[in-house]
Structures are given as structure tokens and as C-alpha cells.
């Protein structure tokens, strides 16, 4: 039923004990979109205030993103691959942008990358650095391995706008829908004040190499791990 990573053992990330694992893709999606995949890892982390070092990194990152960079990025393999995926799924990437393009446009509109605390800032940095869409959910509320499948009739992410269309491609686990492809996480799975561990998921598309997926996950995991340690040594937790 599900496609599993069978050739290689889970790889340890730079953070230590975590390992990147392959998720699953529903057979109809795997047949239609070769290369579509989910990779994920978990990290022990809580939602904390963004450390100064990360804010500095975001400032540096924002300085690298100019109008010309955004224009050029359309031709770069990774952002382009997700545009193609969006287009093939019937989503107009100029209207409902891919995560990396959405962040780039936000950067141009706001003149910078405003800090919104962890884990959001970790997602922003990982996505902008690699172009790979990354999302973070509460790992303790995850049931089994995350993957991709079409939504069934009546499924929802919770909330007023969480209703899913039948057949909509979503992240899901054994319990049900986890998130939309644009990174909108189900209300009952999202990171909250009681979160102690986070699951970081990266969406893989055709033509995106494994190292780029791994790098996106490592960046996010490393930042969340470091932010948690700094917060422990210097309490003052704010979201």
C-alpha cells in the first residue's frame, strides 16, 4: 500500500539522535507524480522565543533576497519543481504560491523577515535556504508515519476554514489529515504551548535532490534543537 524507504537505513542528522525517515505516498499519487514524497524527522523541542543568532541569520537571509533574486529563482531547479507540481495538481502558483515563493514575496513586501518565534522562524529559514516546503507539527499528536494521500469526503483540519475537498492532496497519518500542502497544519496537530517534541516534514518533488530535502530538515531540526537548549539555559519563554 505504502511506499517505504527500503534501500537505506534512516540517516542520522547533524543534530544527533534524530534520523530522517521516508514517509509514504498513496499509490495513485505515486503513479501520477513520480518523485513525490515526504521525508520527516522528530526533534525534542518546545515553542520558544527565537534566539538572537537565528534573528541575525534571518536578517542576513532577508538581505540576500532581492527582486532580481526572486525573478531568477523561477528558473532555479528547486522552486521551479514545486511550481510544476502545483501546476500539475491544478493549483495556479501565481495565485496560490508555493511556500518558498510566498515567503520571498512576503520578504519583498515587508522589507524583511519578521521574527514570529519558534518553530515558525525555523520553517522560514529552512524553506528559504533550500526552496523545499517544510512544515512542523506536534510529534506527540502524530499517529504513525506521515504521508500524502487524497482527502476523503468529510475530512477536515478543524476550524472554520479547515474543511477539505474530497480528493485534495494532503499530508496525513494513520489518524487522519495532518496538513495541507501549503503547510497549514490541522488545529489539533499544530504546535502549542504544551508541545515537547516536533515532527518536521519536508515535501519532495520530482527533480529535487535528496540532499536538498535532507538539508531542509537538518536546518529546521538544528535551529529548533539549538533554540530549545538556549531557552533552557536562559528561561524566558515566549511564543
Amino acid at each position: 500500500m505504502c511506499k517505504h524507504w527500503s534501500n537505506a537505513p534512516p540517516r542520522a542528522s547533524a543534530v544527533g539522535q534524530q534520523a530522517i525517515q521516508q514517509g509514504w505516498v498513496a499509490p495513485e499519487l505515486a503513479a501520477e507524480f513520480p518523485g513525490l514524497d515526504v521525508y520527516w524527522l522528530t526533534v525534542e523541542a518546545r515553542p520558544v522565543k527565537t534566539p538572537d543568532a537565528v534573528r541575525e541569520r534571518m536578517r542576513y537571509l532577508a538581505g540576500r533576497i532581492t527582486g532580481a533574486t526572486v525573478v531568477q529563482s523561477r528558473q532555479d531547479t528547486v522552486p521551479w519543481s514545486y511550481r510544476v507540481l502545483w501546476r500539475r495538481l491544478g493549483v495556479d502558483p501565481d495565485t496560490d504560491r508555493t511556500p518558498v515563493e510566498e515567503l520571498m514575496v512576503q520578504r519583498l513586501e515587508h522589507g524583511g523577515l519578521p521574527s514570529r518565534g519558534m518553530p515558525i522562524d525555523a520553517i522560514v529559514v529552512a524553506t528559504l535556504e533550500t526552496g523545499v516546503p517544510v512544515l512542523v507539527a506536534d510529534a506527540t499528536k502524530l499517529s504513525g508515519v506521515p504521508g500524502l494521500r487524497p482527502a476523503a469526503a468529510g475530512e477536515s483540519l478543524g476550524g472554520a476554514e479547515g474543511m477539505l475537498r474530497t480528493g485534495e492532496v494532503i499530508y496525513a497519518d494513520e489518524r487522519g489529515p495532518l496538513a495541507r500542502l501549503n503547510g497549514e497544519v490541522a488545529i489539533d496537530r499544530s504546535v502549542g504551548d504544551d508541545t515537547t517534541a516536533m515532527a518536521i516534514c519536508a515535501l519532495a518533488a520530482a527533480a529535487v535532490s535528496q540532499i536538498e530535502i535532507d538539508e531542509a530538515l537538518w536546518i529546521a531540526a538544528d535551529m529548533l534543537d539549538t533554540a530549545g537548549r538556549l531557552d533552557e539555559s536562559n528561561p524566558g519563554r515566549t511564543q
Binding site: R74, Q75, V84, V91
Partner: protein, 161 residues
């Protein structure tokens, strides 16, 4: 042959195919075409910068991400193809105008008196920045009456206030 047809009619399924058509090759071909057209559109997007007013958005409604049927994939492909074609044509026309403007700048520099008060900006030749070439008289009114003209080249964008 006639026997076979009669037997089929008697069974109630005259010449009905017993297998559903395999859509996979058609779907693969459409996905490939969408990929190629999206690449062409990305190139046009990058090439057209910093020109303004070129329409590069695809005229196809955006929906929730799902597996599209053949008809929808064809519509997406057609909308992309139409946009790429239109954008190429618009860009060709812009290039022709910009080439003419470059030649005009050359001529302005050689014979400024033939192009009095003409002003050409970077945008007119498809370049970024605020640079412009402006044919003005030397020494104000004296130059106007004496037919002494020159091309004044601006130094760039005004400073931000």
C-alpha cells in the same frame, strides 16, 4: 464476420470494448508538456525583467491540489501554451521597439539637433535603472536660437528621501 456481429448483438453488447482505455501514456505526455511550458514561462519571466506590463499569469482558475482528469490537464496545458505564446509575441514586439530606441539613442548622440527635446529612458530600452538620455540646448535659450544641441545623460535614480 457476420456471425460474430450477430452473436455480439444477441449478447446485448455490440462491439463494446472489454477493457477500459489506459490513460497513463496520455497523462504522462500532458504532465511532460506542462513541465516544459512551465520552464518556458519561467525563462520568459526572467527574460522579461525589468519590463513592466507583460502579462505572464496563466488564465486558468486555481483550485485545491488534486489529481486532475485528462480534460482538466488539457485545459491547464492549453492555458499555459496560450500564455507562453502571447508572452513570446509581446516580448518580441518589445524587443523591436527597444532596438529602435537604441538606434534612436545612437542617432541622438550623433545628430542631437535632429532630435530636439527627445528623451529616452532605460525603461524604453528594456534596462533596469533610472538612466535617461535627453536632448537639450547648450546654454539654454542661446543654444536654442543658435541650434546648439547636446544629449544630456542623467546620472541615475534620485536619492531616496
Amino acid at each position: 464476420m457476420i456471425d460474430v456481429l450477430e452473436r455480439s448483438s444477441a449478447a446485448g453488447h455490440p462491439l463494446q470494448p472489454r477493457t477500459a482505455p489506459d490513460e497513463r501514456p496520455a497523462r504522462r505526455a500532458l504532465h511532460g508538456q506542462i513541465e516544459r511550458l512551465e520552464r518556458d514561462l519561467a525563462k520568459l519571466f526572467a527574460t522579461s525583467w525589468p519590463r513592466k506590463g507583460l502579462e505572464l499569469t496563466v488564465d486558468h482558475p486555481s483550485g485545491r491540489p488534486r489529481i486532475r482528469d485528462l480534460g482538466e490537464l488539457e485545459q491547464i496545458r492549453d492555458a499555459l501554451a496560450e500564455r507562453v505564446e502571447d508572452a513570446r509575441r509581446d516580448l518580441r514586439e518589445r524587443h523591436a521597439v527597444e532596438d529602435a530606441n537604441r538606434r534612436l539613442i545612437d542617432d541622438m548622440l550623433r545628430h542631437p539637433e535632429d532630435h530636439r527635446w527627445v528623451r529616452v529612458s532605460n525603461a524604453d530600452i528594456g534596462e533596469p535603472g533610472c538612466h535617461h538620455w535627453h536632448v537639450v540646448p547648450r546654454w539654454g535659450f542661446i543654444g536654442m536660437f543658435a541650434n546648439w544641441w547636446r544629449v544630456k545623460i542623467s546620472s541615475g535614480c534620485p536619492l531616496a528621501t
